[in-house]
Symmetry: C2
Subunit: 383 residues, 2 copies
């Protein structure tokens, strides 16, 4: 069974709504004498309750056989038409272990490819997001790669356009990735943004891999989980997939509607085929409940995916993301790396410097950190 | 340019947020001396205001060249990461006329295929939604098709599963569609639900068309607009596409978050390749603002698409959907047709009977309607 916990605002009867969901989102209407025939297709309301604040909850179990093993038909069943009936929010989703499509790499696969095994990974973002030439991409990549950055990605708003095709970016960057490997012994990953209709995106992904791309960036909530699923299962697109949370706030931001971030950026990404998931972080520049963020990270790690906290990350903030001995994270910085006062390479060095101090249990504050990239970063962005 | 009107709840400064959107969702950060270089990529805040209730609005214009001509990269640009920053709702979206993918049929094409030119079309839904055998599908189809139904669709929650493959449904129904054509001279359309990852859905769509399918049902908000775009442009899937609003409430229901229904079910469907769009109706069983519904219908009609009001439609409600001389609508009924006290064929006849009375400007009430299917429908569901 597929179990969904729904939340309702005060004034809504969760038992009534739970029954509507269990029937209306499965067999719908049938003649009373036919109930037995349709029993195996019918959802079951397992629990309903109202808390002290008047907020209702209903736990509904749906037969797994009612859906196609993908995220799209799952969403149609568990939220679908019912979403139009009034405020309802999916609080949690419990899928059978083998449900859906699983990423072929995960954090372990990304470590394998990059050869970085014993520390958190650092990821950068090409900035400015738009308007750079292929040569600009290559030059930025060379600078940050030689300085020790592990991964880099396009901005998610840098799609395939005539002025900047994804292919031109990969063709310009592949030789630089090779240079970096020769110089550092590490394969740096560059996640290139995929865009367009489904067929175009999948064709593009194949061509980009042939041209030397070594990772993809997709925004499943904006373009569809169905594309993520195909990318993650096609033998010709066997590369790590970084899933971006674009649009997640439109579905997850309201307390009364949509889908909790743990489900949207956790469960659905895990069972949709992502290898790494970017998500907003309360320690950065975006509002997300710290408890939700911690749960999401745990969920991703427990499923073998790479958690990638993003937005507002800078070197001085590193301690907020690391617990002793736990390196299972990719730290993703855009401006907090690229806009370092001494330039992007110094931005990369500042992150590594911060990590070294944390390893030695030394504080990251402006008074104790010696002069250098990290101190400059802390003077600009704090710690 | 692509123009987006954003709405903010009281307490949010629309001018500040509008500037953040214009820069943050385009080039992002750049050095002040580089502003000129990145100017053509940069969004522009054109207007910002706060109304008497404290609700803010910001109109932002984005360069069309920043996106790939699809819905996915458009959503990443106009809502994307910014959606995670706090409450924001897209109130309207103005796209260049030729933007995106347009449906190849629209209402005119559907009329051409079905041969129904001078009246509204009637659509039914196979019920119960799940648990029917291919033979059940064929038997129901024969009954309603011979009684004069123009179109029928799977329930959107009836995906491709081992227990009921889409191919088995089409194979069982194709000979019946032929029977109906021989008997009535009309080609009835059966919109079959597509499901699964993108590649599977597209492959399935091709195979279903080869097997005689003559229309598709997809849920673009759940599976991704990218699949809709590919279906609408691939030469091997050249069939009318009925877009279902599953999940629309999760994105459009909240007053403070997400996307207005006119944009979500109108603009995005129109520029994403749909031929017909199902939507909730205030005259039926789902809550939607009647003004929004009227705007949405006008928008779909003006773009040549078929508006398909759905959910809670029954024969007695017909006058609520018809204005004199305006036949540009497909009326979609599930239980309001299939659960007619005298059976599905009587349900179809009740709709035609209602239409005849409306043409003669006669009222549809229980006292004046003569005994027959329509009167039975009105006794059950009202008028």
């Amino acid at each position: 069974m597929i179990r969904v916990l729904y939340g309702f605002p005060p004034g809504v009867n969760p038992e009534k709504q739970g029954r509507m969901l269990a029937i209306g989102q499965t067999v719908g209407s049938f003649r009373p004498d036919e109930a037995r025939r349709f029993e195996s297709w019918t959802g079951v309301l397992e629990e309903a309750s109202v808390d002290a604040n008047g907020r209702g909850r209903a736990l509904v179990a749906y037969p797994s056989a009612n859906v196609s093993g993908d995220i799209g038909s799952l969403l149609v069943m568990i939220l679908g038409k019912y979403s139009l009936a009034g405020p309802v929010r999916i609080l949690s989703l419990d899928l059978p272990e083998g449900y859906g499509t699983r990423g072929r790499f995960g954090l372990a696969g990304i470590r394998e490819l990059t050869g970085v095994r014993d520390r958190p990974l650092f990821m950068g973002i090409f900035k400015p997001a738009l308007g750079l030439s292929p040569e600009d991409f290559a030059a930025i990549l060379r600078e940050v790669g030689m300085a020790g950055l592990d991964l880099i990605k396009d901005d998610e708003i840098c799609p395939d356009t005539p002025a900047s095709t994804a292919l031109s970016r990969v063709r310009a960057c592949r030789p630089v990735l090779d240079e970096i490997r020769r110089a550092t012994g590490r394969e740096m990953l560059y996640a290139v943004t995929l865009s367009g209709g489904a067929s175009r995106m999948l064709d593009q992904a194949r061509r980009l891999r042939e041209a030397g791309a070594n990772a993809y960036l997709v925004s499943p909530i904006a373009c569809g989980f169905s594309v993520l699923e195909s990318l993650a299962s096609d033998p010709d697109t066997r590369l790590p997939i970084f899933a971006h949370p674009a649009m997640a706030g439109a579905l997850g931001g309201s307390p009364d509607y949509g889908i909790d971030y743990r489900v949207l950026l956790g469960t659905l990404m895990i069972h949709g085929g992502a290898d790494a998931v970017l998500y907003p972080t309360a320690a950065g520049s975006l509002p997300i409940d710290p408890g939700v963020e911690a749960d999401l990270r745990r969920l991703l790690v427990a499923s073998g995916l790479a958690p990638v906290p993003s937005a507002g990350i800078h070197p001085g903030a590193l301690p907020k993301f690391l617990s002793p001995g736990d390196h299972r994270v990719i730290l993703n910085a855009g401006t907090g790396l690229m806009d370092h006062p001494q330039g992007p390479a110094a931005g990369v060095r500042a992150f590594h410097e911060a990590l070294e101090l944390i390893k030695k249990s030394q504080p990251l504050d402006r008074d104790s950190v010696p002069e250098g990239p990290l101190r400059q970063a802390i003077l600009k962005w704090g710690s």
